[in-house]
Symmetry: C2
Subunit: 452 residues, 2 copies
């Protein structure tokens, strides 16, 4: 066999032999940030209709109360928890993004292994290691086929994510090399997700089902359910069948040395990434000048062409519409100083002050403007002009969210569900998760006291 | 929208509006044959290692005892039963085949709806209707993309089968047109199965997981979980993403008039279809001449080229090897007059008389021989020569298995698991399934009395 024939085996061997002690501090820190951000998203969306429907539809068939649906009081079986948490963590489109592949890494991986960890106790340190390995696995496999695989129409978070879930769950289950190879084979045969589903609840189903499929793969392989040993690279394996382009070196080279998880990023705002520069700049101007909406005569945004193509809605009618309106987004940024889920509620898009300011916002395409940049000019009723040029929006690799930013985002999402004091305790435990003896205590903290 | 934009909707509308009373008698009869054959395969393989492993791996997470794993005493939840029965019904590779697409139609569909019917009572008549609709759905979708989709590397039984399961389960759940469209969308986003998995337990996982995915799709859609309304035909929908060729007329034209399920066929022998003509001819010669192995000097088979390419093993060492040996297969056909699972056991390939006769069998390629034909010359020790030309092997569309053939196959498979009298009762109920008030009584009969 040549190296190109041993992609799955090489990856499996790395996963099996990797040791938590060898994981660099920077990777560990990033994994914690990823997990805290993921928890916030999942708790925040735990009452979303998509989550409610999925739980209600499957409740009659569920198993023992083993694992937490983040933000909800009633436990479900491990496999069901993986599905539900994967749905809720993605349904706000507010989770982490590996920008090179547009994979949302945490959904498939964290959903699978947190549920598993509530059934099979594991330390925070080992959990973080498994999380990092899972993210590394899915992002590397994504790199090997991006962008062709995505362009064809696959929702790469579900199709590559299933490998991440299998790898991480397999690591926590202690699979040997043969079993890990089979787990990756079982994952390969269960890709989830067509991009056609974007705009419907099925989009958030993808990371949920990928989590569940990957976990199932690892559970079956652990018992000896056989599969291909070349699931990724075989002639009729995953990469050849699902992509017109493949670069296996992205999967097999520099394992343990180059860490894709360091390229993971977090969204500061609960909307598509193209309008983040405008929101960022408006918030900066607001804070620097203690801006009041009533003092503003006009807001002019010079934006990348995609901004108006994707988010040009002048008069949004629903909260979801608001996510596709750069005008609404600029208005809430100036009035509220933020753009979280509340700013994209149905109430928020009909708020009188917001509507008045929104109507003063105009946007012009500037073909030379980079995608993560914006130029903003605010003219006050006094005639004064305020300018702000944003080179890289907050949340980008170049300007990552700070610890304080992530804390504020988490709090915004979790407080309405768990209450302020409870949210603070969960967050504190999250930041310290590496020192927790049994990671299940974190899941326990993510359930409200009241039954829901 | 043009007709090509309404493929999913057209199919959903047909499924929702179809009435059992309008199903032609020939289609109903074929559905019964399909179901009886499927039950036999599933009960027969119910103790196979793949089934044992899957059940053991997932038992800790399973739900209430709602549905039967055919041939086993302990019930599992509905979704788990769909998976396990899908695995067991395919693991012998002895189930039904829609030859135009090489889809094995019953696995995904019957596994999903028998489990559902144990939870939501349904009459035999309505059950058969749903089964026929599910088979029609998966075979038509298969037709639309075959052979390109299969050639790329997809195991079409899993990738098209998921639609069949969703359609049939959706019919039994009483979905309206909107819900059925969503169920098909959720199915589209969950294809299962790469051909790379052939030769491993994961092959039989495909119809099982397709059954489960389709059932899950219908359950979610029934509660209002939204999905694409053009899951099959959209630019980034199932057919465009998963095939280089598409013919949507195969899906939408002649619904209710042309029935693909009439083209379903059943395997008389527990091995690859290419050696069926040789087995068929040897059994005929044996029965016509009361042949004894000791009286045979040589057996010469003139065969289609694929026979030696796929099944040319001279000295099989395991039962599974035996399935890839035309020599072993001819020998057991002459000695036992059959080629069921027993003839492909480890013991059978080492049986002295079988080995002696096997060594007298030779095979010659005849490039003019059709794939379902063979010419056999048996020379006796007396010098007498016996000849048999098989034009179409038993089990082909041209020479379907008779009621008696299917009965014998069922009995062979089920007797070792349930015992003779119990097997006969299950078979009798199966043939009369259309008149059963609650199809769950059939599932009840498929469980042994002893706990296993």
């Amino acid at each position: 066999m040549t190296p190109a024939d041993r992609v799955t085996q090489t990856l499996a061997r790395y996963l099996v032999n990797a040791r938590a002690d060898n994981l660099p501090q920077a990777v560990r820190d990033h994994a914690v940030r990823t997990f805290v951000n993921w928890m916030g998203c999942a708790v925040g969306a735990s009452r979303h209709e998509a989550v409610e429907i999925a739980i209600a539809a499957l409740a009659p068939f569920g198993g023992p109360a083993q694992a937490t649906v983040l933000g909800r009081a009633v436990k479900v079986d491990v496999l069901s928890a993986a599905l539900f948490n994967g749905i809720s963590s993605h349904v706000f489109d507010f989770d982490d993004t590996h920008l090179k592949t547009v994979i949302h890494p945490a959904g498939p991986v964290a959903s699978a292994i947190l549920a598993l960890a509530e059934y099979r106790p594991v330390s925070g340190k080992e959990f973080i290691h498994a999380l990092a390995l899972g993210i590394e696995t899915e992002c590397r496999i994504g790199n090997a086929v991006y962008p062709d695989h995505y362009d064809i129409g696959w929702h790469i978070t579900g199709t590559a994510g299933v490998f991440g879930a299998a790898a991480a769950a397999g690591k926590l289950l202690g699979l040997d090399e043969q079993q890990m190879t089979w787990a990756l084979g079982l994952a390969a045969t269960q890709p989830v997700g067509l991009r056609e589903m974007f705009g419907t609840m099925t989009k958030s189903f993808h990371p949920g089902r990928a989590a569940q499929n990957g976990l199932l793969s690892a559970l079956l392989a652990a018992r000896g359910y056989t599969s291909s040993e070349q699931g990724i690279e075989a002639k009729r394996g995953w990469a050849n069948v699902m992509s017109t382009h493949r670069n296996y070196a992205e999967i097999t080279e520099g394992l343990g040395e180059r860490h894709e998880s360091l390229l993971n990023s977090y969204k500061p705002f609960a909307c598509g990434i193209v309008i983040h520069p405008a929101i960022d700049g408006c918030i900066q101007l607001r804070n620097e000048h203690a801006l009041e909406a009533g003092a503003i005569a006009s807001v002019l945004l010079k934006v990348h062409p995609l901004v108006l193509e994707l988010t040009g809605k002048r008069t949004p009618q629903t909260g979801l519409d608001g996510k596709f309106s750069v005008y609404h987004s600029a208005a809430v940024a100036i009035i509220d100083g933020r753009a979280g889920e509340y700013q994209y509620s149905d109430a928020a898009v009909h708020d009188t002050a917001t509507v008045q300011l929104r109507d003063k916002v105009t946007a012009e395409i500037d073909p030379t403007m980079p995608a993560d940049a914006v130029h903003i000019t605010i003219t006050l009723t006094s005639g004064e002009r305020l300018e702000k040029h944003v080179e890289h929006a907050i949340g980008s690799i170049e300007r990552p969210m700070t610890h304080a930013d992530l804390t504020a985002k988490f709090t915004d999402l979790v407080e309405p569900i768990l209450g302020g004091e409870h949210a603070a305790r969960l967050l504190e435990a999250g930041w310290k998760m590496e020192s927790i003896d049994n990671i299940a205590t974190l899941a326990d903290l993510a359930r409200p006291v009241e039954k829901t």
